[in-house]
């Protein structure tokens, strides 16, 4: 799925993220932390919000604006599971399947998402590019099993039957 991610064509067409309002947002962060490297996590969030994932070129750009090495930035990007190191579907579906939800049927919810999105398997993107579905470790809403995070939408008490209706809201 990431075959084209680092192709020469993409490398040449790379447009910097930190211009205009993204740059203004980054500069506002500098006042909130005593060092520039400390702005790394929020800076990566800005990249992902705008690009959907964090490419090698984006890693290099972030390193450059914060005075870090690309290797350091990549080490941080790969430590945190929410940063995507390859492109994902337009809508990113995370189903909690840790024990508290697991005993309440979370694996059936995952299967329902895999079926109704057409993704087929975990981590794969549907042929129409619409969805990627993953299992996520504990979403912290165990009393509302099964919680699912679709993009920034936190949906509680999801059952396999609710899945088709929920997906209709994501084109």
């Amino acid at each position: 799925m990431s075959a084209g991610a680092h192709s020469p064509a993409q490398e040449e067409s790379y447009q910097p993220v930190f211009v205009g309002d993204a740059l203004a947002k980054l500069e506002a962060l500098f006042a909130q932390y005593p060092t520039r490297p400390a702005c790394l996590l929020p800076a990566l969030w800005i990249v992902q919000e705008r690009r959907g994932w964090i490419s090698e070129r984006a890693v290099a750009e972030v390193a450059d604006v914060l005075g870090l090495t690309p290797a350091y930035v990549k080490g941080v990007v790969t430590f945190y599971t929410m940063y995507h190191t390859h492109p994902v579907g337009r809508h990113f579906v995370q189903v909690c399947t840790t024990s508290p939800c697991n005993i309440c049927g979370a694996e059936e919810v995952t299967k329902s998402f895999l079926k109704h999105t057409g993704c087929g398997e975990l981590g794969a993107t549907s042929a129409d590019g619409r969805f990627t579905v993953i299992e996520v470790e504990c979403l912290g809403a165990c009393g509302f099993a099964t919680p699912v995070l679709i993009d920034d939408d936190f949906i509680e008490s999801v059952t396999p039957e609710r899945v088709p209706g929920i997906l209709q809201g994501y084109k």
Binding site: Q32, Y33, P34, T35, P37, A38, C39, L40, L41, P42, L44, W45, L66, G75, V76, F79, Y80, T81, M82, Y83, Q94, T97, T98, S99, P100, N102, I103, C104, V136, E137, C138, L139, G140, A141, C142, G143, F144, A145, L149, D152, D153, F154
Partner: protein, 435 residues
């Protein structure tokens, strides 16, 4: 008010009084409900006196460790020769625990007020609230509340005209359970991988950017305005017999109960009251098999063990488990203990930061051995192998993630040996394939 259920007569709502009441979310709404009086009062008190009041209250850390909060604050240097920081741990990720998200989504100003009082007490001008990246609604709500608090004068360069500067920065996590560990959290705020640090130095000596730092949990800080308002002695008196565990505690109950949710009770309330009474007991036709009482990192308790267990730090410890975060996972007789322990081990293997060998290898091998048992390929010696691994994973690493993986595994093998034997002897059909 309870949430998502109406308050039960055995509850003692204090922090949860306004759960489910969206009107309490705004600055004005919070002030109307008596909010920010604690902060105004604290600002009139010398730093030491605020610390003493919290010491008197007996408040202990609600994130899991149970360390006395006032004592922790007293470790901060008296002289402010370099910046002091407060970090609020809102990285709630311990399986079974979902109390901090309710505090944040219903009463964000209760948290901000507690943070500001704590900052005053430890001489900090800046607070970092570290919210886990997946908590998108809470991030939005707390961000809006912080903006409101600045506008209302509860934060900023001159808080309520006191001359004190108190600022809040919200730091969004990015998906790493380990960042709930306090030194890993500090690394994460500094823009690093979330690897825990070796202690000492402790955060009060050298925390964020090597400056004195205190880290407290959301629930701990949210109790502080009530303590300042009504006094340390009043909070201390909320106690059902054990003077070492005072105040109220939010218990998140999930799994196979009729009414999962958050319940706030006075420390020492019987566990069976919570499970059978407040939560409505098991689903029809089902019986209780096991409870993990303090988030997934603590030993499993059997149905018999909860019969006479008071829910406080010492009471649960006396039963061989821990109060932890108060995240209670209830499992009925339909539960496959071996499978669920494997899921927990997989969680810890996924979340290990991998800097200590015992944890990196131990969590991964524990998972693989459990998977092969579930696949019908287990050997009789596997249980001893798991116990041996667990011993090498306990008390030997920089942080306790490794211990947390071992605790449910060891307790499950000891308390439910027949369930493991059933797979190993092939009496029970394998439930995993391709292992």
């Amino acid at each position: 008010m309870g949430f998502p259920h109406p308050s039960h007569s055995k509850e003692h709502p204090l922090l949860s009084t306004h759960f489910g009441d969206a009107g309490a979310r705004s600055f004005d709404g919070w002030v109307k409900r008596g909010g920010y009086e604690g902060l105004k009062k604290a600002l009139q008190m010398p730093r030491d006196q605020v610390v003493e009041t919290v010491k008197t209250s007996g408040l202990r850390g609600r994130g899991g460790a149970g360390f006395p909060t006032g004592l922790k604050w007293s470790f901060m240097p008296k002289e402010v020769s370099k910046p002091h920081y407060l970090v609020c741990n809102a990285d709630e990720s311990e399986p079974g625990t979902f109390k901090d998200r309710e505090i944040m989504r219903w009463t964000p100003h209760q948290l901000i007020e507690g943070c500001a009082i704590a900052a005053h007490a430890i001489g900090a001008e800046r607070i970092y609230i570290y919210i886990r990246g997946e908590f998108t609604p809470e991030l939005k709500i707390v961000r809006a509340a912080v903006d409101d608090a600045y506008r209302g004068g509860a934060l900023g360069g001159n808080v309520f005209g006191s001359g004190r500067r108190i600022e809040v920065v919200i730091h969004r996590g990015a998906g790493a359970y380990i960042c709930g560990e306090e030194t890993a959290m500090m690394n994460s705020i500094e823009g690093k991988r979330g690897n825990p640090r070796i202690k000492p130095p402790f955060p009060a000596q050298a925390g964020l950017w090597a400056c004195p730092t205190t880290i407290n949990n959301v629930e701990t800080l949210s109790a502080v305005p009530h303590i300042i308002n009504r006094g340390g002695e009043w909070y201390e008196s909320l106690c059902l017999g054990n003077p070492k565990s005072t105040g109220t505690k939010l218990f998140s109950v999930c799994g196979h109960v009729q009414r999962p949710g958050n319940y706030e009770v006075v420390m020492g309330t019987p566990m069976k009251d919570l499970v059978y009474d407040m939560c409505g007991g098991m689903r029809p036709g089902r019986t209780l098999k096991a409870v993990i009482p303090g988030g997934s990192s603590v030993p499993i308790m059997t149905a018999a063990e909860i019969e006479d267990c008071p829910m406080d730090y010492e009471g649960i410890a006396a039963k061989g488990s821990m109060l932890g975060s108060g995240g209670m996972i209830v499992m009925d007789d339909s539960t496959d203990i071996v499978y669920q322990v494997m899921r927990l081990a997989r969680f810890y293997a996924h979340e290990s930061c991998a800097q200590c060998t015992q944890c990196r290898e131990g969590t991964a091998w524990t998972t693989r051995i459990l998977e092969r048992i579930l696949a019908g390929k287990g050997k009789p010696e596997d249980l001893n192998l798991l116990l041996d691994l667990a011993e090498n994973m306990t008390g030997k690493t920089i942080c306790v993630l490794s211990d947390s993986c071992a605790a449910p595994v060891v307790s499950a093998i000891k308390k439910f040996p027949a369930e493991f034997d059933a797979y190993i002897s092939r009496r029970k059909q394998a439930v995993m394939v391709g292992v």
